[in-house]
Amino acid sequence: MPDTADTAGTAQTAGTADTVGTADRAGTATGGPLLQARGLTKTFRVPRSASGSTRLHALDGVDLTVRRGETLGLVGESGCGKSTLARVLLMLERPDAGTLRYDGVDPFALRGRSLLAWRRRVQMVFQDPFASLNPRMSAGELIAEPWRSHPDLVPRAERERRVHELLEKVGLRAADARRHPQEFSGGQRQRIGIARALALDPEVIVCDEPVSALDLSVQAQVLNVLTELQAELGVAYVFISHDLPVVRHMADRVAVMYLGRVVESGPAEEVFTAPRHPYTASLLSAAPRPPTAQDDGPSRRIVLFGEVPSPTDPPSGCRFRTRCWKAEQVCATAVPADEPAPDGPQHLAACHLPIQPSDRGGSRAAAHE
């Protein structure tokens, strides 16, 4: 079985990467990050907006690092650019500026066979399990579809067995291979989507809101499948979601996005328990607390004014300043740089006036007024 050997290999490298690579921001070839984005920028041409701008700034200098076998949570509201980022990571869009390095290689420079080989390593699970599966194909055909573009990966004779294996891996039955998507429920379809993403033995799976179209009782099932697969295969996830409890459950590290920029990133626990960027703090406090949550969240709620400005003409300086209760003159003029937190070098926030551990709580009360 070639894939078990493969899996073991990935898992091992994942282990070493965790111990070696964490402090290494520069990302050298060995033990460095699997995927590294620097200054990704993407603008779209749009019909003239109210302000006369025709450019939609979807991404504006996004830095991102994904290590082997880890889960990077990507959090943000609509229009923050997280879906565009996913599409860039999968090379469905080409960034206007910035670099993407995958194991030190720029995938956008690849052509032909090497590009095809690269495609195999990053796969995607889509938000909508209804639209992302071609209704004309059976589950088996859907899962085997990637092999039609990568005929060398799995020998023809092996394919049926491998499809059955994948189906069982995601908690479906081998006999389901003959059924069509519309015979499955939403949760089951999402499992098919996951199985299809696994068909090429990827190293990174970008999950774009994989459970937000699903009902709560089914969400947990799909999250469990993802967790189990990661433990088994050592695959890394870029987990995009607006649902904070879900991200908190899944992610090792998180990056919070606002209007095309990453405003805060770091180990999940640090970001969630001690947010430094006001936006992160307000996002955390705005999400209604699930009935089972431990009471470690902020006691006073920050209700932000207004809504996310249009990405066609974002505010100058700090993008968040128009809604920020701490905003001062400097926020309008200078773009804040990523600053590490005093207690955690991994925990970065792009804010001129980050929330200090001491004034947590106080600022919140002020914000509410």
Binding site: L90, L92, L115, L116, R119, R120, V122, Q123, M124, F126, D128, F130, A131, S132, L133, N134, P135, R136, S138, E145, P146, R148, S149, H150, R179, H180, Q182, E183, F184, S185, G186, Q188, G193, R196, L200, A213, D215
Partner: protein, 347 residues
């Protein structure tokens, strides 16, 4: 066309044949087309002479008068030729013009349309303008000019008819393919590294083709009638060859005293077209896994209705998605060809 249909059924899973047998209308349509096909293939060698043989003692015999022999069961025309024999022989000529013309325009139009719709941009614009030009030009006039200049042979006739009908398929295929390329499963295929043609082949064509087939079935009628107009003008099928259209055209003068010379070939055109439409419609449903269950349910359950507006009970296979009640959380794939009436674009 009929043999083509039959092959498709036979090479497909045995289940398709069973589905066909379950639908009486489709079975009947299939039988009709088989008959027409047989006539077209076997007619000319067997009855070719009979169709040309003039019998001036049996001019304008009424149909169903069996006294004169079996060949005059459908009557005879003004030259005493057997209408039945001519009908059978004409099937061959008619199909030899209509089938290649429809197939050619379908093939070229759909491939071109899917290509244009998939790539968008200038390719789409140029293609659509070309289609507009062809459509704005009266096709009959075009045919008249071309066939006057060139030889009115069957090949030229086919070419002219095919070109005139390409825009119909081009426009339908372009619209559908433009919509499908933005669908999530096409994106998904791109993430596997599938090339553009592979996506068109796997994801666009299987969804667009059934619709186009339905359009083609209707178009078949149009092509046959155009052919008859051209034959009437003397630039289509040349006597002594005979086609259904030509028979209608020739018999028109004698409509008052020999209606059967017009009505029977006319009926042949209608019956063939209806059979094709029925079969194309059946194929469209049978080819769509989401719709296939409709064919296995009793007739009562197949009344046309908006899809998903009401829950379906035991009829669909287990686990069919529940139609929306809240209409909110789940998003169903929108705008698939489910239950949509075939789009037709007639000039």
């Amino acid at each position: 066309m009929s043999t083509h249909e039959k092959e498709a059924g036979a090479t497909g899973r045995a289940g398709l044949l069973r589905l066909l047998a379950a639908d009486r209308m489709a079975t009947a349509a299939c039988a009709v087309l088989l008959l027409v096909g047989l006539c077209a293939v076997l007619g000319p060698p067997l009855l070719g002479d009979l169709a040309r043989e003039q019998n001036l003692r049996a001019v304008k015999l009424r149909p169903f008068s069996t006294g004169e022999g079996w060949e005059f069961v459908l009557g005879s025309d003004s030259l005493g030729r057997s209408v039945l024999a001519r009908l059978v022989v004409a099937a061959g000529t008619t199909l030899s013009v209509a089938v290649p013309a429809v197939v050619l325009s379908l093939l070229i139009g759909s491939v071109w349309g899917m290509w244009a719709g998939f790539h968008r941009g200038w390719r789409e614009n140029v293609s659509m303008r070309i289609a507009d030009v062809i459509l704005s030009f009266p096709s009959l006039l075009l045919a008249v000019v071309v066939l006057y200049v060139f030889d009115p042979s069957i090949a030229n006739l086919v070419a002219v008819l095919a070109i005139a009908r390409i825009p119909v398929y081009l426009r339908t295929a372009r619209a559908e393919s433009a919509e499908l390329r933005g669908r999530l499963f096409a994106d998904a295929a791109r993430t596997f590294g599938s090339g553009n043609w592979a996506i068109v082949r796997r994801h666009v064509a299987p969804i667009v083709l059934p619709t186009l087939l339905t359009v083609a079935a209707v178009d078949f009628c149009f092509v046959m009638l155009t052919e008859s107009s051209l034959s009437f003008l003397g630039i289509g099928i040349q006597p002594p060859d005979v086609s259904w259209g030509l028979m209608v055209a020739q018999g028109r003068a004698e409509l008052r005293n020999a209606w059967w010379t017009v009505v029977f070939p006319g009926l042949a055109i209608i019956v063939t077209t209806v059979a094709m439409t029925v079969l194309a419609n059946w194929a469209r449903i049978a080819g769509d896994p989401a719709q296939r269950w409709r064919l296995t349910t009793p007739k009562r359950g197949r009344t046309p209705r908006g899809r998903g507006s009401v829950p379906d009970s035991a009829a669909p296979p287990p686990g069919r998605p529940q139609p929306q009640q809240t209409g909110s959380r789940e998003r169903t794939a929108k705008g698939t060809s489910h239950g949509e009436a075939p789009r037709q674009e007639q000039p």
